[in-house]
């Protein structure tokens, strides 16, 4: 009992400190994780095995960790090393793309293709945002897209805020479509051994339907404020040459090739047997071998984010080893008593509501053992619960300015350019869009898993 209470206190304290924002979040999760290991697993439980289970170093030596057809891949509890390695590899690749000018080149090409018409740019940037976020983390997508949007808004003289909110929303939605699109999906996918295609066939379909709903709604809401001013388009086409965005042609070609390679490896990993950990290593290694800027690529790896994940997994692993999450699972499994569909919708709604106000990454990590328990207790297929959890956490995060990291990045980029996006302005578009997309997701879940 003492272990359970201590674990809960530590977990709640971690969240409180993260909300406080005075201490960097990787320091909070690492410190909480350290205290959890020493105090809960070490002093109270006196269990060296529990500590080793949480650290999960043995997973790295399992053949199945690197090659899915070679047996168990581990990842049942504690640090999810597959997530860490995959994110690190993708970070190196994305850094290479950014340095080469890939995103700027892409945005300029699309703006040119849209003939610099703000309404067309709105639709194309929403689609681009979702498409890129399927493979690249939404933080990077929004960082580049928001900068390009503000640059275009200055030239074309329109208010970039509605477009930024639409792009953020679509990045989160696109991220929901694949296993690698959003951190909660990577965590769910690696912990429950789902493939890229498992996600694409399930959350991908839900996100695609949601995308039609979101684009239609956001275009209706935001498009009317995007009137074209009198701009000399011919002059603009000449002055805004996408090729000028390319910083280094060699690096551009290499990073584009590696991006293509990562897509191919991810799409085919169910058949090749390569796990996301292997893909992360391959992509990272190829990027470093081929690039002439390898020192800069290594230097710019966001180590703080990786440490944040490690600390978080230790905390959640610590909670798991005390069996405290089973208590929560017992209560949650009673949701929508007697009706499995209602239970699924409740999980999606609760995930969405929680993710709108707290960080969805720790939430997803905590929910994994809980949904396993619910699946066993209620006899609902685990994958259906996992998809509703992913969709809930990914889309719910879109509702508020603090729900997902991409939202904070978009608001931050806007703020750096003197555009204030407060709760009122943000939620005016995002809340109805979130509700509509969640309703469409509920409909797709019913049709796919319950009606047929």
């Amino acid at each position: 009992m003492a272990a359970k209470i201590a674990a809960i206190i530590l977990f709640v304290s971690m969240f409180a400190l993260m909300i406080g924002g005075r201490i960097e979040r990787h320091k909070i999760t690492l410190a909480t994780g350290g205290v959890m290991l020493v105090l809960v697993q070490g002093i109270i439980m006196k269990s060296g095995k529990a500590i080793m289970d949480v650290l999960a170093v043995k997973d790295l030596f399992l053949p199945g960790f690197w090659f899915s057809k070679a047996g168990s891949s581990g990842g049942e509890m504690g640090i999810n090393w597959a997530t860490i390695i995959f994110i690190a590899g993708m970070m190196i690749m994305v850094e290479g793309l950014g340095r080469a000018g890939f995103f700027k080149w892409l945005c300029r090409n699309i703006a040119k293709w849209a003939n610099f018409n703000p309404k067309k740019i709105l639709i194309l940037f929403m689609v681009l945002s979702a498409a890129l976020a399927m493979f690249i983390d939404s933080i990077t997508v929004i960082l580049f897209l928001a900068t390009a949007t503000i640059e275009l808004a200055k030239i074309l003289r329109f208010n970039p805020v509605p477009m930024l909110i639409s792009e953020i929303f679509c990045a989160n939605l696109g991220g929901a479509a694949t296993m690698c699109g959003d951190p909660p999906n990577i965590i769910v996918g690696t912990a429950l051994n789902y493939s890229f295609f498992d996600f694409l066939r399930n959350t991908g379909v839900i996100a695609l339907v949601g995308m039609f709903v979101a684009v239609a709604f956001l275009y209706w809401r935001c498009g009317k404020n995007l009137d074209s001013k009198e701009i000399d388009i011919k002059e603009l086409r000449k002055s805004m040459n996408p090729v000028e965005a390319i910083r280094n042609k060699r690096e551009f070609c290499i990073s584009s090739f590696i991006f293509g390679l990562s897509v191919v490896l991810l799409v085919s990993h169910e058949y090749t047997g390569l796990t996301v950990a292997s893909i992360g290593v391959i992509i990272g290694a190829v990027s470093l071998i081929l690039s002439r800027e390898r020192k800069a690529l290594i230097h710019d790896i966001d180590g703080k984010t990786l440490l944040f994940f490690i600390g978080l997994f230790v905390v959640v692993g610590g909670l798991e080893s005390t069996h405290v999450l089973e208590f929560i699972a017992e209560s949650v499994s009673k949701l929508g008593t007697g009706n499995d569909y209602l239970c699924i919708i409740m999980i999606m709604a609760v995930s969405a509501g929680a993710s709108a106000i707290i960080d969805n990454i720790p939430f997803a990590a905590v929910m994994i053992p809980i949904i396993k328990h619910i699946s066993l207790a209620r006899g609902i297929p685990l994958d259906v619960i996992a998809w509703s959890l992913s969709i809930g956490t990914d889309i719910g995060g879109s509702a508020t300015p603090i729900g997902a990291s991409a939202n904070v990045v978009g608001i931050s980029v806007a703020g750096k350019h003197g555009r204030y996006i407060g709760w009122g302005r943000y939620c005016r578009d995002s809340v109805p869009a979130t509700v509509l997309v969640l309703l469409s997701a509920a409909a797709v879940i019913y049709i796919r898993y319950f009606a047929i």
Partner: protein, 196 residues
């Protein structure tokens, strides 16, 4: 180092007269004073909408409604600070002299010389009397205003600078304006500037 210019920051408790002291020093030296109108000037220079930002200056961050990680932040106070730092940084780079009142001015000029960083404080009675007169409010309301404003200044400053807002170690001069009065305090600070 540009010997012809002088940078002065005045951090101050609400009601201590720091604003007036800054004005007197600025007028005597014939240099601009950046005070409550700094944000307006920043917005004018960069073409930003002042009305969108004005309510967040020198106020505490809302813990539950904002999030920040790494270099990214949804905290409006962070964006205001960044704009003001950029604006003041440019003035420093151009070799301009100025007095800056509040707004993390001490941090902005810390690495530059010649610079004087002052903190003006006063006894509670002195401050409350001034607040009552200036804002035409009763004693209790003046007290609440003082607490609220100082909390905002403390949180704003400590978010962007190291150390405590009212720690004398962070300043060159730490002065009680209630002892000598506003004008004499300004004169004393001017003398300090001239001697420096």
């Amino acid at each position: 180092m540009n010997k012809n210019r002088i940078l002065i920051s005045i951090s101050r408790e609400f009601g201590s007269g720091g604003h007036e002291i800054g004005k007197i020093i600025g007028n005597k030296l014939g240099i601009p004073v950046y005070d409550a109108d700094l944000l307006r000037k920043v917005c004018e220079e960069y073409g930003y909408d002042y009305d969108e930002w004005k309510n967040f200056e020198e106020t505490p961050r809302s813990l539950f409604l904002t999030r920040a990680f790494g270099e990214f932040s949804s905290v409006p106070q962070d964006h205001i600070a960044e704009m003001e730092f950029r604006y003041i940084g440019k003035k420093i780079e151009e070799g301009k002299s100025f007095v800056i009142v509040g707004r993390c001015g001490s941090k902005m000029i810390k690495e530059h010389a010649p610079a004087v960083r002052a903190f003006v404080w006063a006894d509670e009675d002195f401050k409350i009397k001034r607040i009552m007169k200036r804002h035409n409010v009763e004693n209790d309301e003046a007290f609440q205003m003082m607490k609220k404003k100082d909390r905002g200044r403390r949180m704003y400053t400590e978010r962007f600078s190291e150390g405590r807002w009212d720690d004398p170690k962070n300043y060159d001069v730490y002065i009680n304006s209630g002892k000598l009065g506003i004008h004499a305090t300004a004169e004393l600070l001017l003398e300090y500037v001239e001697l420096g």
